[in-house]
Symmetry: C2
Subunit: 246 residues, 2 copies
């Protein structure tokens, strides 16, 4: 049974990658061809093609080659999982792009009418552009995978329920803060417990993910600002949490 084999050139032509890229992947042990011909030509198998697709998907998710290599070593990672991760990310990105489109159109309309465009409008636009790249840098593939798995466990309805509960909870917490309520007050304590619950529903209690989220909110305040979160509110919530545990 002679299986189909592809040379580097064929593979490059059909995938849009460069020959040099395939050489590089071989060099670093990310994708080595199934065999070599007698003359030393790289001969790739169908299984190699599948693996290459996984690599391309994970590259689009923004992961460095080294992380992709170790990620693909995990026994619980199937080609299906990788495709699903890619799809989830793609849908998020398309949503951000629709947002960006709206903002650019607004700026174009203003400029075309020779109106003043505020610096803020430019800032918000650049912020969205940065968010598109940013999603790619905060999680490791493992964390992203865990997040997705968690979402699937919860089911779509539950995810939506959690997402809708947030704005309400944030508003309630802010009202207490601005009203000057003591973080140890029972009313605030109740909210703090709900807060903790929602965070856990999202992260599945994974410490790495919780940490990555914390880093993201601390170093990128604009991300939190989209949901009405700021440093002041975070500090207030933290004090309430401390009071819960003590």
């Amino acid at each position: 049974v002679a299986e189909t084999r592809w040379t580097v050139g064929e593979l490059a032509r059909r995938t849009g990658l460069s020959v040099r890229t395939l050489h590089h992947y071989d060099e670093i042990g990310l994708l080595s061809p199934a065999r070599r011909s007698e003359a030393g030509y790289r001969l790739y198998s169908a299984a190699d093609v599948v693996r290459l697709q996984q690599i391309k998907s994970l590259r689009e998710l923004g992961f460095p080659l080294e992380e992709i290599r170790t990620f693909l070593q995990r026994p619980d990672i199937s080609p299906l999982r990788v495709v699903e991760l890619h799809l989830a990310r793609l849908r998020e990105e398309m949503a951000l792009q629709r947002d960006l489109c709206t903002r650019l159109e607004a700026i174009a309309a203003h400029l075309a009418a020779a109106e003043e465009v505020s610096a803020d409008e430019f800032f918000r636009t650049m912020e969205v552009m940065s968010m598109m790249d940013r999603v790619k840098t905060y999680y490791t593939p493992e964390q992203l995978e865990a997040l997705e798995q968690r979402r699937q466990q919860l089911g779509e309805d539950e995810v939506r329920r959690v997402e809708q509960a947030w704005p309400e909870l944030i508003a309630a917490m802010r009202a207490e803060m601005e009203g000057g309520t003591d973080p140890a007050d029972p009313r605030v304590q109740t909210l703090a417990v709900q807060w903790k619950g929602l965070v856990e529903a999202f992260t599945g209690g994974d410490e790495g993910i919780t940490g990555a989220l914390g880093t993201m909110y601390r170093t990128e305040p604009e991300v939190g600002a989209r949901f009405g979160l700021d440093g002041e509110l975070f500090a207030y919530v933290e004090r309430a949490m401390d009071a819960v545990s003590s």
Copy 2:
């Protein structure tokens, strides 16, 4: 009249760029702040914010920093033009993403059903992913700008008309080729003239663009393959063209 000024840190926070990136843009003369404070702090003006937005847009279009620098020096390039270029590109990319989504969903469905997925299906998917990056590497900003300008001159209806004329013309040309008609035959000559007309309608006769297109079709046969174009047909058309001019 004290105008608003931003320090690097403020600008970085509001745009999602790193301080190092802004330093780098200053170093290479791409974006230098309007002034410096007495202590040497970079102070950016509102005009700098506008320029930064243009830079971010052109970066998303995939241009290297050096090309962006010279492009922004052109007197005929307004902020509005840059936003329009970005919008045009964004819409194309979203179309490709919808295509990619469909393909990934098909693969996911097959994998979930534990069905065999052909190598071809993986190839086509990777091809779309590569096309998304590729658009970014064939044109210089000047060429992209000329292409867009051309499209605006033609108007949407005309662009659509041209795009719809292609498949028909390609099919007709292929039929002649496969029928063994001499490239110098009057029937083929008529088609060749139409062919030339459509190419010119698209490129506006710009030699640089025509060259870039040629390079693209030669080095990326899959791009042409999507429209039923291959090396054989190109060679046939070329012979017909030579016959036209002689």
